[in-house]
Protein backbone atom coordinates (compact mmCIF):
# COMPACT_ATOMS: atom_id res chain seq x y z
CA UNK A 1 0.00 0.00 0.00
CA UNK A 2 1.20 3.49 -0.85
CA UNK A 3 -0.13 6.47 1.10
CA UNK A 4 0.04 9.95 -0.39
CA UNK A 5 -1.66 13.27 0.21
CA UNK A 6 -3.82 14.78 -2.49
CA UNK A 7 -1.16 17.50 -2.89
CA UNK A 8 1.54 14.87 -3.47
CA UNK A 9 -0.68 13.10 -5.99
CA UNK A 10 -1.28 16.41 -7.77
CA UNK A 11 2.48 17.16 -7.70
CA UNK A 12 3.26 13.87 -9.46
CA UNK A 13 0.62 14.50 -12.13
CA UNK A 14 1.78 18.13 -12.59
CA UNK A 15 5.41 17.00 -13.02
CA UNK A 16 4.30 14.58 -15.73
CA UNK A 17 2.17 17.18 -17.52
CA UNK A 18 5.02 19.72 -17.46
CA UNK A 19 7.36 17.16 -19.05
CA UNK A 20 5.11 16.67 -22.09
CA UNK A 21 5.68 15.64 -24.83
CA UNK A 22 8.33 13.60 -22.98
CA UNK A 23 7.71 11.21 -20.14
CA UNK A 24 7.93 12.87 -16.74
CA UNK A 25 9.49 11.29 -13.67
CA UNK A 26 10.60 11.73 -10.09
CA UNK A 27 11.36 9.97 -6.83
CA UNK A 28 9.33 9.39 -3.68
CA UNK A 29 10.83 9.74 -0.20
CA UNK A 30 9.01 8.42 2.81
CA UNK A 31 8.75 5.84 5.57
CA UNK A 32 9.29 2.07 5.27
CA UNK A 33 5.51 1.67 5.73
CA UNK A 34 4.95 3.33 2.36
CA UNK A 35 3.83 6.75 3.56
CA UNK A 36 5.20 9.35 1.17
CA UNK A 37 6.83 12.35 2.85
CA UNK A 38 8.14 14.09 -0.23
CA UNK A 39 7.73 14.03 -4.01
CA UNK A 40 11.01 14.90 -5.73
CA UNK A 41 10.53 15.86 -9.38
CA UNK A 42 13.42 15.02 -11.73
CA UNK A 43 14.36 15.98 -15.23
CA UNK A 44 13.94 13.06 -17.62
CA UNK A 45 17.55 12.81 -18.77
CA UNK A 46 16.48 10.38 -21.50
CA UNK A 47 14.44 13.34 -22.91
CA UNK A 48 12.06 10.97 -24.65
CA UNK A 49 8.33 10.33 -25.01
CA UNK A 50 8.99 6.59 -24.77
CA UNK A 51 11.63 6.18 -22.07
CA UNK A 52 12.69 7.95 -18.91
CA UNK A 53 15.73 8.11 -16.71
CA UNK A 54 15.98 9.93 -13.39
CA UNK A 55 18.72 12.58 -13.36
CA UNK A 56 21.69 10.88 -11.60
CA UNK A 57 22.29 14.07 -9.57
CA UNK A 58 18.70 14.04 -8.29
CA UNK A 59 19.16 10.35 -7.45
CA UNK A 60 22.28 10.98 -5.34
CA UNK A 61 20.76 14.04 -3.63
CA UNK A 62 17.59 12.10 -2.82
CA UNK A 63 19.44 9.18 -1.22
CA UNK A 64 21.55 11.60 0.82
CA UNK A 65 18.54 13.63 1.92
CA UNK A 66 16.61 10.49 2.83
CA UNK A 67 19.56 9.39 4.99
CA UNK A 68 19.80 12.80 6.66
CA UNK A 69 16.07 12.96 7.38
CA UNK A 70 15.64 9.37 8.52
CA UNK A 71 13.55 8.53 5.45
CA UNK A 72 13.94 6.05 2.61
CA UNK A 73 13.80 6.41 -1.13
CA UNK A 74 10.50 4.58 -1.46
CA UNK A 75 10.20 4.43 -5.19
CA UNK A 76 9.77 6.24 -8.45
CA UNK A 77 6.95 7.70 -10.50
CA UNK A 78 6.86 8.23 -14.24
CA UNK A 79 4.31 8.88 -16.92
CA UNK A 80 3.10 6.97 -19.91
CA UNK A 81 1.96 9.67 -22.29
CA UNK A 82 -0.19 7.54 -24.58
CA UNK A 83 -0.56 4.18 -22.89
CA UNK A 84 -2.21 2.83 -19.75
CA UNK A 85 -0.80 3.15 -16.22
CA UNK A 86 0.75 -0.31 -16.21
CA UNK A 87 4.47 -1.18 -16.16
CA UNK A 88 5.89 -1.89 -19.61
CA UNK A 89 8.33 -4.76 -20.25
CA UNK A 90 11.10 -2.12 -20.10
CA UNK A 91 9.85 -0.91 -16.72
CA UNK A 92 9.83 -4.46 -15.38
CA UNK A 93 13.25 -5.35 -16.79
CA UNK A 94 14.87 -2.22 -15.39
CA UNK A 95 13.10 -2.10 -12.01
CA UNK A 96 16.10 -1.65 -9.71
CA UNK A 97 14.68 -2.56 -6.33
CA UNK A 98 12.06 -5.15 -5.25
CA UNK A 99 11.32 -3.04 -2.14
CA UNK A 100 10.27 -0.04 -4.22
CA UNK A 101 6.86 1.30 -5.14
CA UNK A 102 6.56 1.93 -8.88
CA UNK A 103 3.99 4.62 -9.60
CA UNK A 104 2.65 5.00 -13.14
CA UNK A 105 0.79 8.10 -14.27
CA UNK A 106 -1.12 7.66 -17.51
CA UNK A 107 -1.81 10.90 -19.34
CA UNK A 108 -3.78 8.93 -21.94
CA UNK A 109 -6.68 9.13 -19.49
CA UNK A 110 -8.56 12.29 -18.46
CA UNK A 111 -8.19 12.92 -15.58
CA UNK A 112 -4.74 11.32 -15.34
CA UNK A 113 -4.79 7.77 -14.01
CA UNK A 114 -2.26 7.14 -11.18
CA UNK A 115 -1.54 3.61 -10.02
CA UNK A 116 1.19 1.92 -7.98
CA UNK A 117 2.84 -1.46 -8.37
CA UNK A 118 5.41 -3.72 -6.75
CA UNK A 119 7.80 -5.42 -9.16
CA UNK A 120 9.55 -8.47 -7.69
CA UNK A 121 11.64 -10.75 -9.88
CA UNK A 122 9.64 -9.77 -12.94
CA UNK A 123 6.23 -10.23 -11.33
CA UNK A 124 4.03 -7.12 -11.31
CA UNK A 125 1.44 -6.68 -8.55
CA UNK A 126 -0.79 -3.63 -8.30
CA UNK A 127 -1.13 -2.15 -4.81
CA UNK A 128 -3.66 0.18 -3.25
CA UNK A 129 -2.94 3.92 -3.34
CA UNK A 130 -4.52 5.72 -0.39
CA UNK A 131 -4.94 9.43 -1.10
CA UNK A 132 -5.46 11.54 2.03
CA UNK A 133 -7.20 14.78 1.25
CA UNK A 134 -5.21 17.85 2.21
CA UNK A 135 -7.37 20.87 2.84
CA UNK A 136 -5.50 24.08 2.28
CA UNK A 137 -6.53 26.61 4.91
CA UNK A 138 -8.49 29.49 3.43
CA UNK A 139 -6.63 32.77 3.59
CA UNK A 140 -8.20 35.24 6.01
CA UNK A 141 -10.31 37.96 4.49
Amino acid sequence: MLTVTSDQRDAMVATCIRALPDEGCGLLLGTPEGVVAEVVPSANVAASAKVYEIDPRVLLRSFRRADDEGLEVLGVFHSHTHSPAYPSPTDVRQAPDPQWHYVLVSLAAVPADLRSYRIVEGTVTEEEVVVNKVTTAASPD
Binding site: E23, C25, L27, A46, S48, A49, K50, V51, Y52, E53, I54, P56, R57, L59, L60, F63, V76, H78, H80, T81, H82, S83, P87, S88, P89, T90, D91, Q94, A95, P96, D97, P98, Q99
Partner: protein, 93 residues
Protein backbone atom coordinates in the same frame (compact mmCIF):
# COMPACT_ATOMS: atom_id res chain seq x y z
CA UNK B 1 43.36 5.97 4.63
CA UNK B 2 41.39 3.95 2.08
CA UNK B 3 38.35 5.24 0.22
CA UNK B 4 34.85 4.34 1.33
CA UNK B 5 32.42 2.55 -1.00
CA UNK B 6 28.68 3.04 -0.36
CA UNK B 7 26.68 0.01 -1.48
CA UNK B 8 23.02 0.33 -2.56
CA UNK B 9 20.41 -1.87 -0.89
CA UNK B 10 19.91 -4.07 -3.96
CA UNK B 11 23.59 -5.02 -4.16
CA UNK B 12 24.12 -5.62 -0.45
CA UNK B 13 23.06 -9.29 -0.37
CA UNK B 14 25.72 -10.11 -2.97
CA UNK B 15 28.35 -7.90 -1.33
CA UNK B 16 28.54 -9.19 2.21
CA UNK B 17 25.49 -7.33 3.52
CA UNK B 18 27.42 -4.21 4.46
CA UNK B 19 26.28 -0.62 3.78
CA UNK B 20 29.85 0.52 3.25
CA UNK B 21 33.22 -1.14 2.74
CA UNK B 22 36.76 0.21 2.65
CA UNK B 23 38.35 0.00 -0.80
CA UNK B 24 41.78 0.64 -2.25
CA UNK B 25 42.65 1.94 -5.70
CA UNK B 26 43.65 5.13 -7.44
CA UNK B 27 40.90 5.03 -10.09
CA UNK B 28 37.25 4.04 -10.16
CA UNK B 29 38.20 1.16 -12.49
CA UNK B 30 40.79 -0.14 -10.03
CA UNK B 31 38.31 0.06 -7.16
CA UNK B 32 35.60 -1.77 -9.12
CA UNK B 33 38.10 -4.41 -10.26
CA UNK B 34 38.97 -5.03 -6.63
CA UNK B 35 35.29 -5.18 -5.68
CA UNK B 36 34.37 -7.63 -8.46
CA UNK B 37 37.30 -9.84 -7.50
CA UNK B 38 36.01 -9.93 -3.95
CA UNK B 39 32.34 -10.29 -4.96
CA UNK B 40 32.29 -11.96 -8.41
CA UNK B 41 28.47 -12.25 -8.40
CA UNK B 42 28.03 -8.50 -8.97
CA UNK B 43 30.50 -8.12 -11.81
CA UNK B 44 27.81 -8.10 -14.52
CA UNK B 45 25.90 -5.37 -12.68
CA UNK B 46 28.92 -3.08 -12.36
CA UNK B 47 30.99 -3.47 -15.50
CA UNK B 48 30.55 -4.42 -19.14
CA UNK B 49 32.61 -7.20 -20.73
CA UNK B 50 35.05 -4.58 -22.03
CA UNK B 51 35.63 -3.12 -18.55
CA UNK B 52 33.57 0.04 -19.08
CA UNK B 53 30.86 1.07 -16.62
CA UNK B 54 27.52 -0.69 -16.94
CA UNK B 55 24.94 1.52 -18.63
CA UNK B 56 22.49 1.19 -15.74
CA UNK B 57 24.91 1.93 -12.92
CA UNK B 58 25.62 5.41 -11.59
CA UNK B 59 28.98 5.83 -9.85
CA UNK B 60 29.83 8.98 -7.93
CA UNK B 61 33.09 10.10 -6.37
CA UNK B 62 31.98 12.33 -3.52
CA UNK B 63 29.33 14.55 -5.22
CA UNK B 64 30.38 13.99 -8.81
CA UNK B 65 29.04 11.57 -11.41
CA UNK B 66 32.13 9.79 -12.78
CA UNK B 67 30.74 9.93 -16.33
CA UNK B 68 31.99 13.53 -16.30
CA UNK B 69 35.33 12.61 -14.71
CA UNK B 70 36.57 10.02 -17.19
CA UNK B 71 34.44 6.99 -16.28
CA UNK B 72 36.57 4.10 -15.01
CA UNK B 73 39.63 6.38 -15.29
CA UNK B 74 38.19 8.87 -12.78
CA UNK B 75 40.75 9.40 -10.00
CA UNK B 76 40.11 8.20 -6.46
CA UNK B 77 41.99 9.69 -3.53
CA UNK B 78 42.35 8.55 0.05
CA UNK B 79 39.22 9.30 2.09
CA UNK B 80 37.04 9.80 -1.02
CA UNK B 81 33.53 8.46 -0.83
CA UNK B 82 32.40 6.37 -3.80
CA UNK B 83 28.66 5.77 -4.14
CA UNK B 84 27.05 3.15 -6.38
CA UNK B 85 23.40 3.67 -7.34
CA UNK B 86 21.53 1.67 -9.97
CA UNK B 87 20.06 3.94 -12.65
CA UNK B 88 16.34 4.50 -12.31
CA UNK B 89 14.94 4.16 -15.80
CA UNK B 90 12.18 2.60 -17.84
CA UNK B 91 9.54 3.69 -20.26
CA UNK B 92 6.47 2.88 -22.27
CA UNK B 93 8.18 0.36 -24.55
Amino acid sequence: MPALLRIPTVLRPAMGGENTIAVEGTTVGAVLAQVTQRFPAVKGQLLNEDGTLHRFLNVYVNDDDVRYLGGVDAPVNDSDEITLLPAVAGGAW
